[in-house]
Symmetry: C2
Subunit: 333 residues, 2 copies
């Protein structure tokens, strides 16, 4: 990494990063502090679902502050950011504090990975404001320190995150640009409430499930099958491995100690319907993150059908539509 050259004393930056949906999941760490995952993962960035983060950095500031969606954060959210910034200052060897202001375009904490886009945008803005001059690969590792899946929101389009074995080797990169395949994520919003157990805590519980070992045993097979089906645009193969990998992760979640149940009745209803629709010829499959919302991944030709059918289902409160999105970027101030 280039690193801080010690010349600057203050800086300001505005960055935007998109959320992403994982097709091969990230669940469990080999190193919790550095968020080094136990397996590699695959994802797609999501248009429309992004975080905008403005950062003021300066050696004259007396403490880190956070404004989240227009409100001054004081408790858990601030604590997480400060822990992150402390780690970043330690690893990248610079001083000064940050005034962070971040806002999301989607409901926070409902399973649409607001921490992914949030920490990707923050990492991008930190790099700019401090003048660290990091490469995209290094930016991805910087984002990962705040939220594992944020590493995947730095590069654009379809992304793979190499698990790696230390800070520098655990990074994400594009495997195909956003226009490679016209996939659409039609998200069935089951609950807008904040989830009971956050992902960070959940990753710590993954190893307590007796099923985690079995899930990881053939994750490389699923990773390559997913990547290949993406690259060759083979929807049937893609759908099968995506649903399978989601079910494996939730099986581990539900059998950890304590167990984590993210599926709501409405989530199960949507999953049943999606499976049924696919047997009827509609090209759609589901995947769920650490939350109740169901990401219905479909071809663009099927998206209007999927959207209108989802709106009619009981338990579906709202429907969001996202297409593949690009990399994190700098917004002109």
């Amino acid at each position: 990494m280039e690193g801080y050259d010690g010349m600057q004393h203050s800086g300001t930056a505005h960055a935007r990063a998109f959320s992403n949906i994982a097709f091969i999941k990230y669940w469990g760490n080999q190193d919790h502090r550095l968020r080094l995952p136990v397996s590699s993962s695959v994802s797609m960035n999501l248009s429309g679902l992004y975080s905008d983060t403005v950062v003021e950095w300066g050696t004259h500031l007396e403490q880190d502050t956070l404004v989240l969606n227009g409100k001054v954060a004081t408790s858990e959210a601030l604590k997480r950011i400060v822990t992150y910034l402390d780690l970043v200052r330690e690893l990248y060897k610079f001083d000064g504090y940050f005034a962070v202001s971040s806002s999301n375009t989607f409901p926070t904490g409902a399973g649409i990975a607001s921490s992914a886009s949030g920490f990707a945008a923050l990492a991008f803005a930190i790099n700019q404001s401090v003048g660290l001059q990091l490469s995209e690969r290094e930016l991805s590792t910087l984002a990962r320190l705040g939220s594992g899946s944020a590493s995947r929101s730095i590069p654009g389009g379809f992304v793979q995150w190499h698990q790696g074995n230390d800070h520098a080797s655990s990074y994400a990169e594009t495997i195909a640009p956003m226009d490679h395949w016209d996939l659409v994520d039609v998200i069935a919003i089951i609950s807008k409430g904040h989830k009971a157990v956050g992902s960070t805590e959940g990753h710590g519980l993954a190893a307590t499930s007796v099923l985690q070992e079995g899930r990881l045993k053939d994750v490389d097979v699923r990773f390559h099958r997913c990547k290949q089906s993406l690259l060759s645009r083979d929807f049937d193969a893609f759908a099968e491995v995506v649903e399978y990998d989601s079910n494996l992760m939730h099986a581990v979640m539900m059998t950890s100690s304590p167990p984590l149940f993210y599926w709501q009745p409405g989530s199960v209803h949507v999953m049943q319907q999606v499976r049924q629709w696919r047997t009827e010829g509609l090209e759609v499959c589901f995947t769920l993150d650490a939350g109740p919302n169901v990401h219905c991944i479909c071809l663009s030709a099927a998206a209007p059908q999927v959207q209108s059918r989802l709106r009619e289902l009981e338990g579906v409160m709202d429907v969001l539509v996202a297409t593949p999105a690009g990399a994190a970027y700098s917004v002109e101030l």
Copy 2:
């Protein structure tokens, strides 16, 4: 075993056997034909939910026939019985055919193990009509050949089924009489429809899940924890291991190839509520077999509350209540 003495040429018998609910589950066989399971299990017989089976056996009969709930069975149900009877005739070395008439007191195929009580009653009636003079232990193995869980419906009260390693060693026996603990099974009926994939087929798929190995790795620990909590009437310990074991089985089901999803939206809703009620002090836990219905196991003091709360829940079509029941027995003709 005593076995057929070759003296009788015909006989008639009427037997009754109760269904059972497993607290430590049976899912997967080491031998499919003999239904030797991959793990031992624990269950309780259920009052009120029984099969009544009348059998006429005779060397003068020209074929096996089955009347199920008053209707002449001709296809799958008959085929399964004939396959069973062929195996029994082969193992116990006798001739003749059976006219079987069986009826259940509960909805068939909705996940309340009608095959368990059905084959237990049938085994009991076969033994009597042919004059095999089998012991309870041998009767349990005879029932097991028709449906694994039927082995547990031969002995009374609270039951353990030793997995064994051959026909003679895989049998069930009482670990505590029915009056040992005043547990009640309050069953939330989510769907009365016949399940999509039956248990027999499901057992064949268990090994295709990459999670089955992890589930089985510490099944002995769960078996003993369940048995101990039953014997010492420790509801908290019992509740934890019962829900955990149910979730492990469904995790395996949902990740087999093809995946089996027995949970309906209403099932998930009831599971969520039961967990919530227990945190509020109500002594109740859940377990699900290969079907959508939720068995809410509670202390008798909590049963009225559990029953009335379940009736108010969306997705719950009916509620059945069962207390511990005794062994299979002969009904006077």
